[in-house]
């Protein structure tokens, strides 16, 4: 093994120069991103040429620099910045890593390719010459550097041509064009269209819309039930599932649909603190992606259920009850303190959960009957405008 390793190390030649498309062929947003990277690099080279310590400024992503903007109703980063210098023992490695990533991102944009953040890790990982040290020792080292680059040059991850694993399906009365293919989301059978990781305008365009609203359900099985019952057809809507906590693609797509097509968005999650959390992240963003809330949050999303009050309202059988765990209770109590749940109607909702002492899954609506959710629960909620925001 040892002998083999040596051979391998010698192989780590610098990668070939990227096959860039000519700048003219690039979309404006792509040109912008490349220019931002170039500027960052140029400023480093110029500083060092003057004998100065090359440095880059970036907004701090620490909890202390995150706050809820009451006016915009999103969670966003504050103005505190930090400096990353090369000639500083505790920063040199990260400085180096930032430019390895920046270099590869420029290449991706230039070539018009996208990779996952894990693939980016492999793209930039190699062994430093003459040492056993790697440029990155694990993806947990490269992921934060990607986020650093995003805040440093103020770009979205998607604009750097990076994606996280996608998740989520959509059907409904909408026709889109994605990467040149025209796709009629009302003709997706039972499978639905997989929501891409990157839902920027450049690739994904809305061709024709007949839907009046969007229904996002947390759970795939619930989506399946609704899709099978052609709920989107009967109610004339777009039906999405986030399959759990919403991935960036789902969030961005929702934001665009809500903004560009002026469609109201309804969200159906389990009646538990986790469901409230999923709704909350959709609505005002999350603490650790605070720097991207502007591009991901959907502040006017409506919480249609399941509400703790539904138990009485819909006369649900006791078989739907799942006892709250100690953790659930703690979590709900924490949530009561969140500024975005300060409103009396939200306080009443969370108090009802705690008072019930149990949580409920959307699936449990089936204990009334197979069609109950499709034919009674949702239509009544929509008719009565029975939702929270």
């Amino acid at each position: 093994m040892a002998a083999k390793k040596t051979t391998k190390t010698a192989r780590n030649e610098p990668p070939p120069r990227p096959k860039m498309r000519p700048m003219g062929q690039l979309a404006p947003i792509e040109r912008q991103t490349i220019e931002k990277i170039d500027t960052l690099a140029r400023s480093a080279v110029e500083a060092v040429a003057r004998g100065e310590n090359p440095a880059m400024q970036m907004k701090m992503r620490a909890l202390s620099n995150v706050s809820f903007n009451e006016k915009k109703r999103i969670i966003e980063l504050g103005d505190k910045t930090q400096s990353r210098e090369f000639f500083n023992t505790s920063m040199a490695r990260k400085f180096m890593q930032t430019f390895l990533i920046a270099n590869r991102c420029k290449e991706l944009v230039g070539e018009g390719k996208t990779v996952s953040i894990r693939q980016m890790y492999y793209l930039t990982k190699h062994t430093l010459k003459g040492t056993s040290e790697n440029t990155f020792e694990g993806q947990e080292e490269s992921d934060p550097i990607i986020e650093d680059l995003e805040v440093t040059i103020d770009t979205l991850r998607e604009e750097l041509h990076l994606f996280a694993n996608k998740r989520g399906l959509v059907t409904g009365n909408l026709v889109v064009n994605d990467a040149g293919d025209e796709i009629d989301l009302s003709k997706m059978g039972r499978g639905g269209w997989g929501i891409p990781s990157i839902c920027e305008e450049k690739e994904l365009k809305f061709v024709r819309n007949d839907a009046k609203f969007i229904l996002l359900v947390e759970k795939q099985a619930v989506w399946h039930r609704l899709n099978e019952d052609r709920f989107w057809q009967k109610q004339n809507c777009i039906l999405m599932t986030s399959e759990g906590q919403a991935a960036r693609g789902v969030r961005r797509l929702l934001q665009r649909l809500s903004g560009e097509l002026k469609l109201p968005v309804y969200c159906l999650v389990d009646n538990d603190p986790w469901g409230l959390y999923i709704y909350s992240v959709l609505k005002q963003g999350s603490i650790n992606l605070a720097f991207e809330s502007m591009r991901l949050a959907v502040p006017n999303v409506r919480f249609i259920g399941m509400s703790s009050l539904d138990y009485e309202k819909f006369d649900l059988p006791s078989a739907v009850e799942i006892k709250l765990s100690k953790e659930d209770i703690q979590r709900a109590q924490q949530m009561k303190k969140y500024p975005w749940f300060a409103d009396a109607k939200w306080q009443r909702e969370i108090d009802a959960l705690l008072k019930n002492g149990f949580k409920m899954e959307v699936d449990s609506l089936l204990s009334k009957s197979i069609e109950f959710m499709t034919e009674e629960y949702l239509p009544k909620k929509l008719r009565d405008r029975d939702y929270l925001t």
Binding site: V48, L63, N88, D148, N288
Partner: protein, 588 residues
């Protein structure tokens, strides 16, 4: 009190009476102390064969050390343990002490409760006058063999060699043989015992006891010949005898009521005032008067007449009156230099030694001194917990480390502040040995089995301060080491990363890679002091004394303020300071 009438009635048919009080009285008889300890030898440390061996060696060595010091002789001791049969060992301990006069030899070794140290208030190792004769008794009981004692009290004097047994019924020595033998030693004593025993290693074994004894007694020359393997020679590391401890009288604080009563009844015809000034230390006539006023007893009252409430009040007043602490010359610390000398003997390959002796302090009227020594580096394992040795009056404490205030002072100290790693709430981990010695006329043990020191505030404070003082010395040394290495390391980091940065920048900007790298190299000297070699960092690590006013508050377990980090280190706000609270189920 409840009346016994509540009990059920006597049964109709009373059981047959068996023995009467008279008959039972006729069976009562006295029991000799030897008979008692024969049956209850665990009370003296002979619980099991392994502990019996340790106790035997310990009693003999402690006695030899005490005798040498009292006589002003630098001790040379030979400990020889031979396995002579299954579970049978012969133990020989020979010293160069003052010897024992012929008339006393038999009683000292073969009469329980006989000795010179019991009635004195003085810092010494042995106390009871029972240990060595208990060993003789145990040997006799398990092997039937008499003890052989040889002793000579000076040049030109005869060496007497006697065989000794204990008549347990009368607790009296029984001399089985008696001869004069040639002995080329000027003076000294030698004891041979054959006993049932087990030889074990580890923290509570004989080896560990001797290794530790050597650390706390640098003036001791020791040869240890174990049952298996080569003998270990510990040459004397100091030619200096410890100062002789002064004998003191009881201090008014902390005297027990029963003790006071006995002192009074010992001099029934003297006045209270006279007893107080004469038999206590630090009680002047004025103090005695104050005590009597507080107790509301006449100072001229006969001591023999003090009973009941008066006694109670007098006892209370003694505990409350303000008196000076006793003179500290009753306490003999090892001293900073000798403690390091002792450590060097035990850990000859360590790279750094330090020690601190605190000034004398007082606990409930008892003066005491804490001292701490440490050895660092060399061949000690880097991934194990520090070796902690505990001593009370130079005697190693081998049992109950978890319950001991000494161990606690070591693991409660924040060693991370001294550049040594330390899992939360545990001993520090690293190539480190720590010695803590508590010297006092009266050491407050947690139980009277004398295995662990109790957690009293005054004591804990001194222990902590001593450990911290020593820890700071270590920190100063280690930081100097680190600093010397750091500039070199800084240089290495930058040089390793320059090619990578240059390559990335050159591709992004489509410029020449080597030119960019050259510019980085050119800027390098502005940020690293390349001229300064790492060798000059000559820090007299052991000398750096912190100003006493810098000491942290004694009650706080927080690390002492260490000031600013040394120059040359950068502080970085971690750029990956993401909040700990993650959203849970899914991660994008």
């Amino acid at each position: 009190m409840v009346s016994p009438d509540l009990l059920p009635q006597e049964p109709k048919e009373a059981p047959k009476r068996r023995a009467t009080a008279e008959a039972m009285a006729s069976r009562q008889r006295e029991i000799s102390v030897s008979e008692f300890f024969t049956k209850n030898r665990h009370l003296l440390g002979f619980d099991n064969p392994a502990k019996a061996l340790l106790t035997t060696v310990k009693e003999a060595v402690d006695n030899a050390l005490d005798a040498c010091e009292e006589a002003g002789i630098l001790p040379e001791i030979v400990v020889d343990i031979k396995e002579v049969g299954k579970d049978r060992f012969k133990v020989i301990i020979e010293d160069n002490g003052p010897g024992i006069v012929k008339a006393q030899m038999a009683k000292i070794f073969a009469k329980l409760l006989y000795g010179s140290k019991f009635h004195r208030l003085k810092q010494s190792r042995g106390q009871q006058g029972i240990g060595i004769s208990a060993a003789v008794l145990y040997a006799q009981l398990t092997t039937g063999k008499p003890a052989i004692i040889t002793s000579k009290i000076g040049k030109g004097r005869p060496a007497h060699k006697i065989g000794l047994r204990i008549d347990t019924k009368s607790n009296a020595p029984d001399v089985t043989s008696d001869e004069i033998v040639p002995w080329d030693k000027e003076h000294g004593t030698r004891i041979e015992l054959e006993l049932q025993a087990a030889y074990r290693g580890g923290r509570t074994g004989v080896d560990s006891y001797l290794e530790q004894t050597v650390v706390a007694n640098p003036h001791l020359g020791l040869i240890f010949d174990p049952p298996k393997g080569e003998p270990t020679v510990y040459p004397r590391a100091s030619e200096e005898l410890p100062r002789e401890a002064k004998e003191i009288k009881p201090h008014p604080h902390g005297v027990e009521l029963g003790m006071l009563q006995m002192m009074l009844s010992d001099a029934p015809d003297e006045t209270i005032k006279h007893v107080l000034t004469d038999r206590f230390s630090r009680v002047s006539a004025a103090v005695a008067d104050e005590i009597c006023v507080k107790a509301a007893v006449g100072p001229k009252m006969r001591a023999g007449d003090v009973h009941g409430d008066e006694l109670d009040r007098l006892h209370k007043a003694l505990g409350e009156v303000k008196v000076m602490a006793p003179s500290a010359d009753c306490v003999v610390p090892i001293g900073e230099d000798l403690l390091k000398t002792g450590l060097r003997r035990r850990y000859p390959k360590a790279e750094f030694y330090a020690s601190s002796t605190r000034p004398p302090s007082v606990y409930r009227g008892n003066p005491f001194v804490v001292e701490v020594g440490l050895a660092y580096g060399g061949d000690m394992p880097t991934d194990e917990s520090a070796d902690v040795m505990r001593f009370a009056n130079r005697v190693p404490l081998q049992y109950q480390p978890k319950a001991c205030a000494i161990s606690e002072s070591v693991y409660q100290t924040n060693w991370k502040a001294y550049e040594v790693s330390q899992p939360k709430g545990s001993l520090p981990v690293g190539p480190l040995a720590v010695v803590v010695h508590l010297a006092s006329v009266w050491v407050p043990f947690t139980s009277e089995a004398k295995e662990a020191v109790a957690h009293y505030d005054d004591l804990m404070r001194e222990l902590r301060l001593a450990v911290q003082e020593c820890g700071r010395k270590l920190a100063t040394y280690l930081r100097a080491q680190h600093k010397a290495q750091s500039e070199q390391k800084r240089l290495g980091i930058f040089q390793r990363y320059i090619p990578e940065v240059a390559e990335a920048l050159s591709i992004i900007l489509e410029r020449d890679k080597d030119e960019i790298a050259r510019q980085f190299q050119a800027a390098l000297p502005n940020f690293v002091r390349l001229g300064q070699t790492t060798e000059g960092a000559d820090v007299a690590a052991e000398e750096a004394p912190p100003a006493p006013s810098m000491l942290p508050p004694a009650d706080s377990a927080a690390p002492p303020s260490m000031g600013e980090p040394p120059a040359g280190f950068d502080n970085d706000v971690s750029s990956s300071e993401i909040p700990a609270k993650k959203p849970g189920k899914s991660k994008n």
